[in-house]
């Protein structure tokens, strides 16, 4: 009996030391990780809505950011569209202007097949979304205008559908659009 208590005690000491060290390291790395993620998001927002300088978060059914230029004028909105693709969630940062026309999109995380679906990260593919509206967010096979990636219709459809349904959920109050220039 005493022997088994000793075994448990030894294991307890080992795990206690290990968890103590890990807890300490976590307090150091956690803020850096969060900061990294925040910077990465901020960078992606700037990329899809280049005319905006500052972003203001609006929490709602779909959290989005209002992009403003140096004169505090609203120039557009950014949001993250996400749906399950072929082998994982495909997350896309989307920038739209005040007329709700897509400025630019950027796939920020995906785990699609390398060489096929993963090509959705290519700029040539993402460029075709620019200047389009919500109604056009369908792949050509479904009667839309988005040209599918070779061998990766599912991925393309996921991106198009995720943007469409995210824009459905987007709840932009009308007074916000009053700040529109021209």
């Amino acid at each position: 009996m005493k022997y088994y208590i000793k075994l448990g005690f030894v294991l307890f000491i080992i795990t206690a030391i290990a968890s103590g060290v890990l807890a300490y390291l976590n307090t150091i790395t956690q803020p850096i990780i969060e900061e990294n993620q925040r910077v990465a998001q901020e960078k992606a927002r700037k990329e899809v809505l280049p005319s905006a300088v500052t972003f203001e978060e609006v929490v709602g059914e779909l959290t989005y950011h209002i992009g403003k230029d140096t004169d505090e004028q609203v120039v557009g909105y950014t949001f993250v569209a996400s749906l399950y693709g072929y082998s994982g969630d495909v997350k896309t940062m989307v920038g739209i202007n005040t007329d709700l026309i897509i400025e630019k999109i950027k796939v920020i995380s995906q785990a699609e097949t390398p060489g096929l679906g993963a090509n959705c990260e290519k700029l040539e593919f993402q460029a075709q979304f620019s200047g389009k509206q919500k109604a056009e967010m369908k792949v050509d096979k479904d009667g839309g205008t988005i040209v599918s990636l070779t061998g990766a219709t599912i991925t393309t459809r996921t991106i198009a559908n995720s943007i469409r349904s995210a824009m459905d959920k987007l709840n932009i109050p009308t007074e916000e659009t009053d700040g529109e220039v021209e």
Binding site: L11, T29, A111, G115
Partner: protein, 195 residues
């Protein structure tokens, strides 16, 4: 065995991947590019060296009945450290290696070296063994990753090395390509050994 031999045995003679066939899951999964291979190899080497040091230090304090759980706790702690550090300081590599960093815990190379080597040898020899095995693992990953990346994407370390007209052999960077490349390399190693 001299220390130098202890170090180099992991490269060819006792290569963890090609000869001992250990740690094949991460080998197959992360070798689609050289960058991933290096990241995974170095992360595993770090864990291997430090868990070897610790296990060698505490080998006499741990009753043999609970040595496996004790080793796993030590290994898991170092893996978590690597995971947090990479996430904080190398987010790009951390993202592409994804789940395979936490899975180093169950990489049988590490537990294998702890059980077969570090628990029977002194600290210095254990460090050398960990480094040698770790670099042997990294070497194997880089060789497989290099072949797959050149064939499957026409690139090496992300730089185009083949002419623009080369049509990438997609299968090389998909899962079957990992099996094919590794199988051929293992076959070559065996052929060389027989001579």
């Amino acid at each position: 065995m001299t220390l130098f031999k202890e170090f180099t045995k992991g490269f060819i003679k006792e290569n963890p991947v090609f000869v001992m066939a250990l740690g094949l899951c991460p080998t197959l999964a992360v070798t689609s590019s050289v960058v991933n291979a290096i990241g995974m190899g170095l992360a595993a080497t770090f864990v291997l060296v430090f868990s070897n040091i610790f296990i060698s230090l505490i080998k006499n304090l741990i009753p043999s009945k609970i040595r496996i759980p004790a080793y796993i706790v030590v290994i898991a702690s170092f893996v978590t450290i690597v995971d947090m550090m990479m996430h904080a300081y190398l987010p790009a590599i951390h993202k592409s290696l994804g789940l395979f960093i936490p899975l180093i815990v169950v990489n049988c190379i590490i537990l294998g070296r702890a059980e077969a080597f570090a628990s029977k040898n002194n600290v210095l020899r254990s460090v050398v063994d960990g480094l040698g095995m770790g670099f042997g693992f990294t070497l194997a990953l880089v060789v497989i990753g290099g072949i797959r990346e050149v064939l499957g994407a026409g690139q090496f370390l992300g730089i185009n090395v083949l002419p623009e007209s080369y049509q990438p052999m997609l299968v090389a960077i998909l899962a079957p390509g990992a099996f094919i490349v590794m199988g051929l390399l293992m076959g070559l190693m065996n052929l060389k050994k027989k001579k």
